[in-house]
Symmetry: C2
Subunit: 363 residues, 2 copies
């Protein structure tokens, strides 16, 4: 999926609706084919280096009342999106759900928000247009950036030139909902460091790590928002910067790394747009827990299950991850990134990160 | 609690330690008295207009091994904080917990983070110095601000002058961990509008509500961080701006309002510093659910329990809240703020907020 203009996005919506007319004209029952969205239907795209949906599809057809109702909802949603684009407005997934209550045809209204969310994802996949290009904003905007980068953001109130160290407070630059409104003007950055927790992000900024190593510190804030992943991918592609990810040392955090590097199963149709395939994992590695003798917590049952499920996950079937996950199951321990503070507040910036980044060839 | 210098904060820490020496000298067993922190021990301070701790105290005494260990941990923490102030460093609560592993005396190390968190709160209360003044940062910084306000933030890299509309992107100005580093330079604001959800915050910004009504839109992001509450209070006190709070219409959101307006039970010792007693609740009121015929969800059992517990909460024992909560129990429904979208995307900014704010005498 590439960036497209509002007019083009609108055209694709109308094309999808026209398809139904063609099906009617041909005497076919109207239907829509959507890739099956499950772990068993994702495949590795060698060219793009990301995981995408495979060939299996599911069909939404008007050959049942239930199916016909689904297509009716799809058509109403297409109309709403087309109008939104025409008026240069935007809305959130939740607003769409509520807004459907104002539609004249009661059968077209959504019963739950997961229904409308899923429909918008279907439309993304079928149209090849990502929802941001339909002006569907996520509920929450992305996280924040600190580092030697001058950017221009196109806002509704005009362009803003912002340097992500000199023009922002200690909190950094707030990534907008749609980071494709950003243009990179200039930078002195050597690499991008994505950090899971706010506490660690603040530690790095306080210790001046972004300054000393010319790092762009991107706060992920747990499972990263689409906007954060998109910006990270653009920093990689457009500025040719290596991307490294620094999280807690537990299976949930490996998934955070996975969503940055490989894309998520739920949005594999967006992998090319959101994923940074050559992102590297800094740690906390199970190996680090041993090597740096970090304070740990025991693995819970659900941790063990999550690790075992990762061993089965095609995205984690590399030598590196198999080794690390098996080691972790073996030592039966996990550690948070802030556990590095047990060696002193500067250990992470004076010792751990320099050692790791050097070993990884990033600095 | 008022703002104090680093030197003064350090002095108070040393005074607390000196107290133990005095107790030894007097032949007393060392001890520390701390107000009892429960709902039954909060009282309304008429002068400040906030809820604070009452007269009941609990004593931590070295007359048992358990008590002695607590005081030992307190003394180690005081030493750490005093050193941190001297070096102009800062740290998070979680870092303190991990850092204790590096202390030479094993008995002084914390077993759980809730133990170290609670100790820091005890020290805040006994010393009358808030933890930000000990340079203990919260894990997460505050949320974000959009509106006609020019401020100066003192950062570790120098002062930054930032206008919260003209110098920021669509995401707004990111509130730093310690908002007392901010100085308000100039503003055209008429009032402060605190908003619970990111989706609604973005709706207001997209519709230009901050521009049209000269509102400072402060995103709360669920239960607001200390930094967000502190900034809100300062906007009220220093700029003399009315503060209104706009949340979902359910008991959990009334608690969000409560934490802005009344302070929380857990941090009643900070009410004077964090609470904005004359903050007003915009909605969603149970009355609005009826009046605007909003899409609703039924109350769950835990919603009903939470509402009933609010009826018992001294902070909610006003005519207004009793009426609203009883109405909600009666209609047995709740509504989200984004449910206003069922009347169209502009309804909230063209109709609902202007009507409510006019009725409240804010505009």
């Amino acid at each position: 999926m590439s960036d497209i203009t509002d007019a083009k996005a609108r055209e694709r919506l109308i094309d999808m609706a026209a398809e139904f007319y063609d099906q009617f004209a041909d005497g076919d029952i109207p239907h829509m084919d959507v890739p099956t969205r499950s772990k068993s239907n994702i495949v590795f795209d060698e060219d793009a280096g990301v995981w995408v949906y495979g060939d299996r599809t599911s069909t939404r057809s008007a050959n049942s009342v239930r199916g016909a109702r689904k297509l009716l909802k799809a058509v109403y949603t297409m109309e709403f999106l087309a109008q939104q684009l025409e008026e240069n407005r935007s809305s959130t997934l939740r607003e769409l759900y509520y807004l459907s209550e104002s539609w004249d045809e009661e059968e077209a209204q959504f019963n739950t928000q997961s229904e409308s969310n899923k429909l918008v994802e279907d439309l993304e996949i079928v149209s090849g247009v990502k929802r941001e290009d339909f002006h569907m904003r996520p509920e929450e905007s992305g996280a924040k950036v600190m580092g030697p980068l001058l950017l221009r953001e196109q806002t509704r109130r005009g362009d803003r030139d912002i340097h992500c160290q000199e023009d922002v407070g200690q909190g950094g630059y707030q990534i907008p909902n749609d980071p494709d409104t950003i243009e990179f003007l200039d930078n002195d950055a050597e690499f991008v460091l994505c950090v899971e927790t706010g506490g660690m992000r603040d530690r790095l900024v306080e210790n001046g790590f972004d300054d000393e190593y010319d790092a762009l510190v991107v706060h992920l804030g747990g499972q990263p928002a689409r906007a954060t992943r998109r910006l990270t991918k653009r920093l990689r592609d457009e500025l040719d910067l290596p991307v490294v990810v620094f999280t807690d040392g537990d299976p949930w955090s490996y998934r955070i790394f996975g969503s940055v590097a490989y894309g998520s199963i739920k949005s594999a149709h967006l992998s090319e747009y959101l994923a940074t395939p050559d992102a590297q994992f800094v740690g906390i590695r199970p190996e680090d827990i041993v090597e740096y003798d970090l304070p740990t917590d025991p693995l819970s049952d659900s941790d063990v299950n999550a690790l075992e499920s990762e061993l089965e996950d095609p995205r984690f079937q590399t030598e590196y991850w198999t080794e690390q996950i098996e080691l972790q199951l073996d030592i039966a321990k996990k550690a948070e990134q802030q556990a590095l503070a047990s060696r002193g507040l500067d250990f992470v910036t004076d010792t751990y990160l320099p050692e790791r980044l050097d070993a990884m060839g990033v600095i």
